[in-house]
């Protein structure tokens, strides 16, 4: 096989039939999902028996569950699933030619001013863009505080007790079909453990874990904060991520012990061929706080509902979600809050934008159990339609079994006003500049919570997207 050091022109046809277990280069299973594939994955990762059994059991659950009939259009998905490789050895995932990367992605990189090396990394081409130096010094700081921030595989290997204690306790394999799939074939993701009372000032960035697993199809992340701990985790990127993978199904489990505080910020801008189905959930104990900050800008179809299960008295959960759907995209997002203890509070703020024939859907659940006395929940979902063909839907589910609770829901749908556009134009802004300003104003309450780099890139992305949006 011809072989360049950095960039390998990987013709997938070459590997379609059978294993190629070439130590130096590529390892991947056959397409499709079956017991052999699962066994190979576990063997390759050298996992303990219990994990293999867990995976196999999950596989059976996956096979037994039907494809969901709600949410986005998954009709084409089964065909896709029969063709994909459920496991590719990490360092081989990313080898691909720069020539294969679609023009529009390259143009976006240019316009966003992304350095060339990073462009290649985002497109999965060539050498990984690393911030090795920063990472190492932070690693030392974390180690001194007893903080663990590892790959999920290392989490299992090096911290088996903590791992096993919490793994799959937040999202069991049987939770839903794709959680079961992930449970069977998970690979890549983060393992985070913050000890009692430790307040991390610097955010943990998935980006720091300099390996290709952060872009894995079946990421599994497990995060545990002990009593009184505080941390912020950031992952994803606003720049478009090009992947020939057409399916991404992650599971993120978060365990917050009492009095802890945690924020999970994620932004995705997957290319338009991607199905992005993710289960994200946090268990929140007494007086603990969970904040999800979720930005969905890309993918063909995303179904994602970050959740907070408020299990201890005084727990608080909030979900802030921005969704942007352009031509050919469907964002089916929102959040779930479950009040299972008294004096718990929650808030969901969802801002969605639909452009062209894009469709954005808010889907949310607010459930208050009997006994969750004095719970308060508020949901605000706002949708902005840019064009006449744009579409938005809202599916709020509100189930309140406790009389002594306060639950509120507000929803607005608006179009960009002609008077607003005219007002801005009369001050010298072009129609596109005016649109971009109005759209940025629309998402401002959530965007202002984003880390600066994301906010800046997000602004630029909106400007780009608004070009050619009018008419």
């Amino acid at each position: 096989m011809p072989n360049n050091e950095l960039v390998q022109d990987l013709g997938l046809d070459d590997y379609k039939y059978g294993f190629v277990d070439d130590e130096a280069h590529v390892f991947r299973t056959t397409p499709g999902l079956n017991e052999n594939v699962v066994r190979e994955i576990s063997k390759h990762k050298e996992e303990p028996e219990w994990m293999l059994n867990f995976r196999l059991k999950a596989l059976r659950i996956y096979e037994a569950k039907p494809m969901p009939e709600w949410g986005g259009d998954l009709s084409a998905l089964q065909g896709t699933l029969d063709d994909i490789y459920f496991y590719v050895k990490p360092q081989d995932q990313m080898e691909r030619s720069w020539d294969d990367v679609p023009e529009n992605i390259k143009t976006t990189f240019e316009r966003l001013g992304i350095p060339e090396a990073e462009q290649k990394a985002l497109a999965g081409v060539g050498a990984q863009y690393e911030s090795e130096m920063v990472y190492h010094s932070l690693k030392e700081e974390w180690a001194s505080q007893g903080v663990i921030f590892d790959s999920i595989e290392d989490g299992l290997k090096n911290h088996p007790e903590i791992f096993r204690e919490h793994f799959a306790t937040v999202v069991p394999a049987a939770d839903n079909k794709f959680a079961a799939m992930n449970s069977a074939v998970w690979s890549g993701g983060s393992f985070v453990y913050v000890p009692k009372g430790v307040h991390l000032q610097t955010p943990l960035q998935a980006y720091f874990r300099v390996n290709q697993e952060r872009m894995g199809q079946f990421e599994r992340t497990l995060i545990i904060l002990e009593e009184g701990a505080q941390a912020h985790y950031i992952e994803g990127c606003t720049a478009p991520v090009y992947s020939t993978d057409s399916f991404h199904s992650g599971v993120i489990e978060i365990v917050l012990k009492r009095d802890s505080r945690f924020r999970y910020t994620t932004i995705q801008n997957w290319s338009n061929n991607m199905y992005n189905l993710v289960t994200q959930r946090a268990l929140v104990a007494e007086n603990a706080t969970m904040e999800w900050l979720d930005g969905n800008l890309g993918s063909k179809l995303t179904m994602k509902y970050p959740s907070c299960y408020l299990q201890g008295e005084g727990a608080h959960g909030s979900i802030m979600s921005i969704a942007y759907a352009a031509d050919g995209q469907h964002q089916d997002t929102g959040g779930k809050v479950v009040h299972a203890a008294p004096n718990t509070t929650s808030s969901i703020i969802s801002k969605s934008i639909s452009k062209g024939d894009g469709r954005s859907t808010y889907r949310g659940l607010c459930k208050v159990y009997d006994g969750a006395v004095n719970s308060r929940s508020n949901v605000e979902c706002d949708a902005l339609l840019i064009n006449d063909t744009s579409r938005t839907d809202t599916y709020p589910y509100i189930e309140v079994d406790e009389k002594r609770a306060t639950v509120g829901h507000e929803a607005t749908v608006s179009k960009v006003g002609d008077e607003q556009l005219f007002y801005l134009k009369s001050r010298g802004l072009t129609e596109e500049e005016a649109m971009a300003l109005i759209v940025r104003g629309f998402i401002e309450p959530i965007a202002k919570e984003l880390p600066l780099e994301y906010a800046v890139e997000l602004n630029r992305l909106i400007e780009l997207e608004m070009e050619g949006s009018v008419g």
Partner: protein
């Protein structure tokens, strides 16, 4: 021979798009640089329509006539192009832009006036903005509020003047800026306009006003009376006092049905 008028409206007729009847029925008006003109008239005379047509509001269509700014016709220009050519309208009912701060909005508008490779100096901008706000007796924190969002009528009008003060237009059209203002607010607005004129004596202003009282504070050079889509009389500042005294009845009688 060069046109000595900075702004020249020539027999302008206009109507609402898809309607049949012209609202503006042949308005002619010439402004020299640095002049202040006032247009007064009864409700429904077309005063606000005139202002909107001049800045290119998409709801209206010009059926005949021309408008030039510094000798160049502006009727084919988009509203943003007219703004860059130096035209400004202080709206009667400014619209809200939630989530966009006044500072951000003005910075974007100023940046729009620079060339593609030029970058607005943020520190200079900040200083300028604070200075202009002080001149208009506005709290600095006001700059962080969303444009017109939750503003009182007086705050909206003052915000229009602030924009004028920052953007420094060549020709400023002011559509009933005094309506809805109490005496204090009116004085602040008038003071703002007068200060801008002192700073730039070449700034040309067209005040559209319903009541004479604004003209107590801002001395116009010429006063026009607009009735039923036309300017029916022009005169000096004393004309405004005459109207105050006698009302519009005479003009309406004389010119209705034409």
């Amino acid at each position: 021979m060069t046109n000595t008028y900075i702004f020249d409206v020539n027999n302008l007729c206009a109507k609402v798009i898809q309607e049949d009847v012209d609202i503006l029925k042949g308005v002619s008006l010439q402004l020299r640089a640095g002049e202040i003109h006032a247009i007064m008239g009864p409700n429904g005379s077309g005063k606000s329509t005139l202002a909107k047509v001049l800045v290119g509001h998409p709801a209206y269509e010009v059926t005949s006539g021309d408008v030039t700014c510094r000798g160049t016709s502006i009727l084919d220009m988009e509203p943003d192009e007219r703004a860059l050519a130096g035209l400004f309208l202080a709206f009667q009912y400014p619209v809200e832009i939630p989530g966009v701060s006044i500072a951000n909005f003005l910075r974007t508008a100023l940046q729009a006036r620079l060339g593609p490779d030029e970058e607005l100096d943020l520190f200079d901008f900040q200083d300028e903005l604070m200075d202009r706000m002080k001149m208009l007796d506005m709290e600095p924190s006001f700059a962080e509020r969303s444009v017109n969002d939750g503003f009182s009528g007086g705050e909206k009008k003052r915000n229009e003047i602030l924009q004028m003060a920052v953007l420094r237009p060549t020709v400023a059209l002011m559509d009933e800026t005094d309506s809805g203002l109490d005496i204090d607010a009116l004085q602040i607005v008038a003071h703002g306009i007068n200060t801008l004129r002192q700073e730039d004596p070449e700034m040309t202003i067209l005040l559209i006003t319903h009541y004479q009282r604004l003209l107590d504070h801002i001395q116009p050079d010429v006063v026009h009376v607009m009735v039923d889509g036309r300017l029916v009389r022009s005169g000096g500042p004393e004309l405004a006092l005459e109207l105050e005294d006698q009302g519009y009845a005479e003009w309406k009688c004389r010119h209705s049905g034409t």
